[in-house]
């Protein structure tokens, strides 16, 4: 289990770090057009002109004179500490100097801890002992607790007045969800350290060499996909003369982990398990209990009976199923973009002929299949009640974004230098515009297509290097990278997904309410148990209505009510 987690996490971290980190020079001046659209269409910010007009004294990047001192917590990690630029430390570096010189803000750390368990423990300890610094980086749950115990400042006015137009634009690239999540009783209690939600979008990965062996073409519709899955099971796709393959790989937990899961399959039937979606009346409803689930579940049951899904999937976790994938026992799965590093590179290592290719998820009808995503932003900067300068955090974020993406940016000094130091991570306060990764992918794909890497930044260069190692030297260990950044590779598909806006957000993204806390343990168990039973046939699909009724009785209804109240509170 932990080995698997490590592998999976390593894979995703690796890929994410490469994709996340880069920001090409091209987008410095003009941060993505889609971002500005989002800004104007959403209700939240927009008041920048009026605010600055009514009180001209406010300067988003104005300097405090005399300088002020603010305290905060700092997380660190081994990669960061091993790659510090010469002469700089977490306590003394170019970002802190810039904050002090340009903004007149001296940043001090109450404590520094390694990200992960150590940091979580320390922060929980600090929260429970009440030893809060001026700026507190917290998750949405902690933010809610702090807000409800009245320990932090309302930042609504500070953000309205002090956020620069650039900040408002970049933070709104994914809409106003990160802000809504940080709102309690209509008040903004934390500044979101935004991240890209699209990283969890699922694709369908298919053994292309098997398609060729069987003379099949890539799926355009769900019907095609089902035919492929059946052929992969029954027509000996690996041509070893044995009936030893399965069409669709699946893990016992069914969803969430991003490899051999079912979200992409259900999404193809316009069912959205595990998230809240708007129904026809604009009410939020829970995807797992909607009637759209019946058709895909019926299909999955048939596939289980036919042996297209492994009869033993109920005892296999991602690690075990991964072993089967590597051994060539299955030929298709739904999963996230990072699967090209794990397990697909391992598949290729084990069998050079094995060739996985990602495809967009397909639909059962003529409506486009949308991938379900959760809000990825999970850190918010709260400000301790009674702090003298609550607007300081807004100014700090203004400066962070300005130095990296603004008109006066100095990318190589503040984001990443030519030696590849992740300079942005020296700043204790950060926000990474969600569209950045997509823009990176575009840059890399362009560079590869035109065989010109002159416009690439150092981190994208490492992707380029990996691709070239395969292309020029036939280094099979980099086959995954090559595939990912080929035309229609997964890197390209991410761009296509983004262009098509091919995602449906979980419409509930706030801190869990009382009912949700109270019932979700029981409900999640019940849901997984029932869905598993429907697939293996322990429960007939004719009992779906009973399942929904039981679900609602066990607390589903109470949660739905609570979620809708939360959603309505956002409209105010």
């Amino acid at each position: 289990m932990f080995k698997i987690m490590a592998k999976t996490t390593l894979g995703s971290v690796l890929v994410l770090s490469l994709l996340l980190s880069a920001c090409s020079k091209n987008n410095n001046g003009a941060p993505a057009a889609s971002g500005s659209q989002a800004t104007s269409s959403e209700s939240q910010p927009a008041a920048s002109e009026s605010a600055s007009a009514s009180s001209p004294a406010i300067d988003p990047l104005g300097k405090y004179d005399p300088p002020i001192e603010i305290t905060t917590f700092r997380s660190t990690n081994e990669t960061l500490e091993a790659n510090l630029p010469a002469g700089e430390t977490l306590d003394k570096n170019r970002w802190l100097d810039a904050f002090e010189q340009d903004l007149g803000i001296k940043v001090k750390y109450d404590w520094v801890a390694k990200a992960g368990d150590q940091y979580d423990q320390k922060i929980n300890l600090s929260l429970s002992s009440g030893a809060l610094p001026d700026i507190i980086p917290v998750n949405v749950n902690q933010l809610k607790q702090l807000a409800e115990s009245d320990q932090i400042e309302d930042l609504t006015a500070a953000f309205e007045q002090y956020a620069s137009p650039l900040t408002k634009e970049l933070l709104m690239q994914e809409g106003d969800r990160p802000f809504n999540a940080a709102k309690f009783n209509g008040k903004l209690m934390g500044i979101p350290s935004i991240a890209s939600s699209r990283e969890t979008q699922n694709f369908v990965w298919i053994r292309e060499d098997w398609l060729k062996n069987l003379g099949l073409t890539p799926p355009k519709t769900m019907q095609d996909l089902l035919k492929i899955a059946e052929a992969f099971t029954k027509n000996d796709p690996d041509q070893n003369g044995k009936n030893d393959t399965q069409g669709l790989a699946l893990i016992k937990d069914l969803t969430n982990v991003g490899y051999a899961v079912l979200e992409g399959f259900f999404n193809g039937y316009h069912a959205y398990p595990g998230i809240f979606v708007k129904d026809a009346n604009g009410k939020l409803v829970y995807g797992s209990t909607q009637k759209e689930m019946i058709a895909p579940l019926t299909q999955l049951h048939q596939m289980y009976v036919d042996g297209i899904i492994d009869k033993e999937f109920i005892t296999k976790d991602a690690g075990k199923v991964g072993e089967d994938t590597v051994a060539g026992k299955n030929g298709m799965f739904f999963g996230a973009h990072w699967n090209f590093a794990w397990p697909i590179q391992l598949v290729h290592d084990a069998n050079v002929k094995a060739d996985y290719q990602a495809y967009p998820i397909v639909s059962i009808d003529d409506k486009m299949a949308m991938t379900e995503v959760n809000l990825a932003t999970n850190t918010y900067y709260a400000v301790k009640k009674g702090s003298k300068n609550p607007e300081a955090i807004v100014k700090l974020i203004n400066m962070f974004l300005e130095k990296n993406y603004g008109a006066t940016n100095d990318f190589n000094k503040y984001y990443r230098d030519t030696e590849g130091h992740e300079l942005w991570s020296l700043s204790p306060f950060s926000a990474l515009p969600p569209n950045k990764n997509i823009e990176n992918n575009i840059a890399i794909l362009d560079a590869i297509k035109n065989n010109d890497n002159s416009k690439l930044n150092p981190e994208s260069m490492s992707v380029w290097d990996n691709v070239m190692k395969y292309k020029n030297d036939k280094d099979e260990a980099n086959h995954g990278w090559f595939k990912a950044f080929s035309e229609n590779g997964v890197g390209d598909l991410m761009v296509q997904y983004a262009n098509d806006n091919r995602h449906i957000f979980n419409e509930f993204y706030g801190a869990p309410g009382d009912n949700m806390k109270k019932y979700s343990a029981t409900l999640l168990k019940f849901e997984k148990e029932m869905i598993t039973k429907f697939i293996v046939g322990k429960e007939p699909l004719s009992n779906f209505d009973k399942y929904v009724a039981d679900y609602n009785k066990l607390g589903g209804e109470a949660i739905e009510k609570e979620v809708n109240e939360w959603s309505q509170s956002l409209q105010k």
Partner: protein, 300 residues
């Protein structure tokens, strides 16, 4: 006289002090956290902050949760099975291995059965899934060779708890065997000689000499294991269960894990933990009293 005794024993008491301090620091002080079981606990307000007291509400909430009694039943079934079979198997095995003549064989068997004790369930679970697989596992290959239907040990609610019990016994019985073997070796050989002169065969010797000689240690081990009546073994079950066997495999510890760690429901999770401790204490206390009354057993 009294002063003399103090003078003599003082250094001994001082030696206990560091150990005592550690026990107080790490075992008794954290018990203050028990208050969480009676609170609507919000971590941000602090352990000693202005938490809302809810009395027995957390207990009522947990025991009223749908499925709680199934979970309780699963726990007791698996835990009791492990206790009982885990007690008998090592005793039988220790007696058998004690009768083996070849020293080298005896030692190697002892080592081999002891080995799984050192592997973590994270690793063993992967191995178990493979060897118990109905399609490709070795166990089911044997079953099929005898013409029976393969059994889905880990995927079927009727076999999952037994699989938990027997795989745990398999992992741990080597450890128990070592303890009993050590006990058997302390039995005076003269008693065996005397019994054989009296005409006792192997079976009679085992019944009248070996087993009585092991009695105290058997009672001790049984007593201590009674404290585990609500411990079905988190590591093992967490690594082997899944939605398909929640019905028979979800136990208190996996439930608390989901409740406390995944859902951040600290109050109810602490309430369950407290409930477990109280039940364990009652069982140990009761069993100790019974052992004292009926087997004349005492720790001090």
């Amino acid at each position: 006289m009294f002063l003399n005794r103090i003078k003599k024993e003082l250094p001994l008491h001082l030696i206990i002090l560091p150990g005592l301090a550690l026990v107080v620091l790490f075992s008794y002080l954290p018990m203050a956290g028990i208050v969480i079981a009676f609170q609507d606990f919000v971590p941000a307000k602090g352990l000693f902050g202005a938490q809302k007291w809810v009395g027995g509400e957390n207990f009522a909430y947990v025991t009223n949760m749908p499925g709680f009694y199934t979970i309780l039943r699963n726990t007791i079934y698996i835990a009791f099975g492990k206790m009982l079979i885990g007690l008998l198997v090592p005793i039988a095995f220790a007696i058998m291995i004690n009768e083996v003549k070849g020293k080298a064989f005896k030692r190697s068997v002892q080592t081999i059965i002891y080995l799984p004790h050192f592997l973590s369930w994270v690793i063993l679970s992967g191995i178990l899934i493979d060897i118990l697989s109905p399609s490709s596992g070795i166990v089911n290959s044997i079953i099929k060779a005898f013409g029976f239907q393969p059994i889905y040990f880990l995927g079927d609610n009727s076999t999952f708890p037994l699989t938990m019990i027997f795989s745990d016994v398999w992992k741990e019985f080597g450890f128990g065997t070592v303890i009993y073997l050590a006990t058997i070796s302390t039995i005076d050989p003269q008693i065996y000689e005397a019994s054989s002169i009296d005409g006792a065969g192997k079976w009679r010797q085992i019944w009248h000499v070996t087993l009585p000689g092991m009695r105290m240690i058997i009672v001790l081990v049984a007593l201590l294991s009674l404290g585990n009546i609500l411990n079905a073994g988190f590591d093992q079950i967490f690594n082997l269960y899944g939605p398909a066997v929640y019905e028979s495999g979800d136990v208190i510890d996996t439930f608390v894990y989901r409740l406390g760690l995944l859902d951040a429901q600290f109050g109810p999770a602490t309430a369950v933990g407290l409930l477990k401790s109280v039940v364990s204490t009652l069982f140990i206390g009761g069993a100790y009293y019974a052992a004292y009354r009926f087997a004349n057993y005492r720790v001090f």
